[in-house]
């Protein structure tokens, strides 16, 4: 079975200069789409990737990452809407490149589908009451 998952990788300082992503592709036959990467020498590295491949390969890849010391987080947990702050104006709807926000034409409320989110951060800036929060 083919799976496709968006995950966040946290690289501890000691791993930042190792070619981990290379092994993920070559040894586990996984297809990667890098959506965001922040790798600075002597600091924790961060990468947001979409991983696609056979479930068994995916599981082996995740095991490799975990054993190497990379911390894995699901992307859906990273971008969140602060419901107390959101006013349901809708300014986010057109700036989101993946259409994660949807306007309900009946209630005029805006829904946020975290599974469509790629954590690009555009909505964080476009939201007038700053209701969108990024937690890496």
């Amino acid at each position: 079975m083919i799976v496709s998952k968006k995950i966040v990788l946290h690289f501890p300082v000691r791993l930042v200069d190792r070619s981990i992503v290379y092994h993920l592709i070559k040894d586990y036959d996984l297809e990667l789409n890098i959506m965001k990467a922040s790798i600075i020498p002597d600091a924790e590295g961060l990468m947001v990737i979409e991983v696609r491949g056979e479930q068994t390969d995916y599981d082996k890849g995740v095991k490799y990452l975990t054993e190497t010391g990379v911390r894995i987080q699901s992307l859906a947990q990273n971008v969140m809407r602060n419901e107390d702050k959101c006013t349901h104006c809708g300014a986010c709807v057109t700036v989101c490149p993946t259409k994660a926000f949807k306007l309900d034409f009946e209630t005029r409320l805006i829904s946020f589908d975290a599974s469509k989110c790629i954590a690009c951060g555009l909505c964080l800036k476009a939201c007038p009451p700053r209701a969108m929060e990024l937690h890496f």
Binding site: K85, T87, H88, C89, G90, A91, C92, V93, T94, V95, L103, F105, T107, R108, L109, L122, K125, A126, P128, P129, R130
Partner: protein, 402 residues
């Protein structure tokens, strides 16, 4: 058919008044006809909840010991610049005010995370605010420095005063250039990538009383979750703007200056707001009741999103350079559908004001009136209408002689 506010108030007192919101009245009038609807319905409530930059608050902080004179000095609230140009202990803060060390657009586009609008929200929420004052000292007000926490409950008066709110219609903003622009109408993507608009359309106060026949100075309203009043016409009030056959202005026109006791307002309806690359502001909740005094007034309240048309204006070049150029006219029904066609291109649309919250405001006001706690007021004077000939002038910029 004609009614007076006094008669309507009698019914409100007895709990017999028929009150509906500006959305409900559309179907009621369609079903029953204007004549019957005007007879049966006493009040139509409106609402809007959007960023309104010309908003602010003033308050009296009380006298410290020894006394300090704020007037002529410098004052900050949570590092945000406040205006200290009144008497010793009165202070004014505007929604767009910023801390001195905010980078603004030096790092473009600026984020404007915290400004005057946020101070007002925090104050209303009951949070302590840091007040820092530098004064010059006088014989009767010797103190020169003051650093203290203040809280709304300790202030003598705290008043929301907004010189321009509740715009009657407004531009729909688009970007014709090839790069992203950051405006008070939000982020506009290049090459007509999106359109942003900001009004509650058929629920909007002044669009339901287009000729200002009931809303005037002293009209009691919903303001920021509490009770407020119309203080005056707003700045840039422009009753002479062109109108369509239904009397609806086809661009920004009437405005209102609003006032109310901040102490009984609620931070749910006064939200500090950040417009990327533009500045900090305040999102304000406003609801105005319209007494159905005649069939004519009822007919105005039946305005629908299809009747209200907004001009599509380019904010990359035309707007900044005062070029009067309407690219297209689109109805709010179209804008609310999520996309409109401009020059053969489907352009996605988004709103900066919350329609769902505007509806809650109209319904809250409806409940207040129905419960008898909110009798209507007779305006002391109506705001200037078409007959005034009033319009908004551009600046008459002139060189200063040496």
């Amino acid at each position: 058919m004609s009614k007076t506010i006094e008669e309507i108030n009698e019914k409100i007192k007895k709990g017999e008044a028929v009150v509906v919101n500006a959305e409900e009245i559309i179907d009621i009038a369609r079903e029953k006809g204007v004549k019957k609807a005007a007879k049966e319905v006493d009040v139509v409530t409106t609402g809007t909840f959007g960023p309104m930059c010309s908003s602010g608050a003033y308050f009296n902080i009380g006298h410290s010991n020894p006394r300090i004179k704020l007037g002529g000095g410098k004052a900050y609230l949570n590092d945000v610049n406040a205006y200290a140009g009144f008497a010793a202990t009165d202070l004014l803060i505007g929604a767009n005010a910023l801390p001195d060390d905010d980078p603004r657009n030096k790092i473009y586009p600026g984020e404007f995370k915290y400004g005057g609008g946020h101070v007002i929200e925090d104050l209303v929420a009951g949070k302590d605010i840091r007040l820092s004052v530098a004064a010059y000292g006088t014989d009767c007000y010797p103190r020169k420095k003051l650093e203290t926490l203040i809280n709304i409950k300790d202030l003598n008066e705290a008043v929301l005063f907004n010189p321009r709110n509740a715009y009657q219609n407004y531009n729909a903003a688009i970007n014709l250039s090839s790069k992203v622009i950051y405006t008070y109408m939000g982020i506009l993507k290049p090459n007509m990538g999106n359109i942003n608009y900001s009004t509650s359309g058929q629920l909007s106060p002044l669009l339901n009383d287009p000729y200002y026949k009931t809303i005037g100075i002293g009209t009691k309203i919903f303001l920021g979750g509490g009770v407020g009043f119309v203080a005056w016409n707003g700045t840039q009030h422009n009753p002479s703007a062109p109108r369509n056959e239904k009397g609806v202005p086809v661009c920004g026109s009437g405005t209102l200056a609003l006032i109310g006791d901040l102490k009984q307002m609620n931070s749910y309806w006064l939200r500090g707001t950040s417009m990327m690359g533009y500045g900090a502001t305040l999102t304000v909740g406003v609801g105005i009741p319209i007494p159905i005094l005649s069939e004519e007034i009822l007919e105005y309240t039946t305005v629908t999103d299809t009747d209200i048309v907004a001009p599509v204006i380019d904010y990359s070049s035309d707007y900044p350079n005062m070029i009067s150029n309407t690219l297209a006219e689109v109805s709010y029904a179209d804008l609310k559908s999520g996309k409109v066609e401009i020059d053969g291109k489907q352009v996605p649309t988004a709103s900066l004001s919350s329609y769902s919250r505007a509806l809650i405001i109209a319904d809250t006001l409806k409940d207040w009136i129905k419960s008898g706690r909110f009798p209507l007021t007779e305006p002391a004077e109506l705001i200037p209408g078409i007959e005034s000939g009033l319009n908004t002038k551009p600046m008459n910029e002139r060189p200063i002689p040496d």
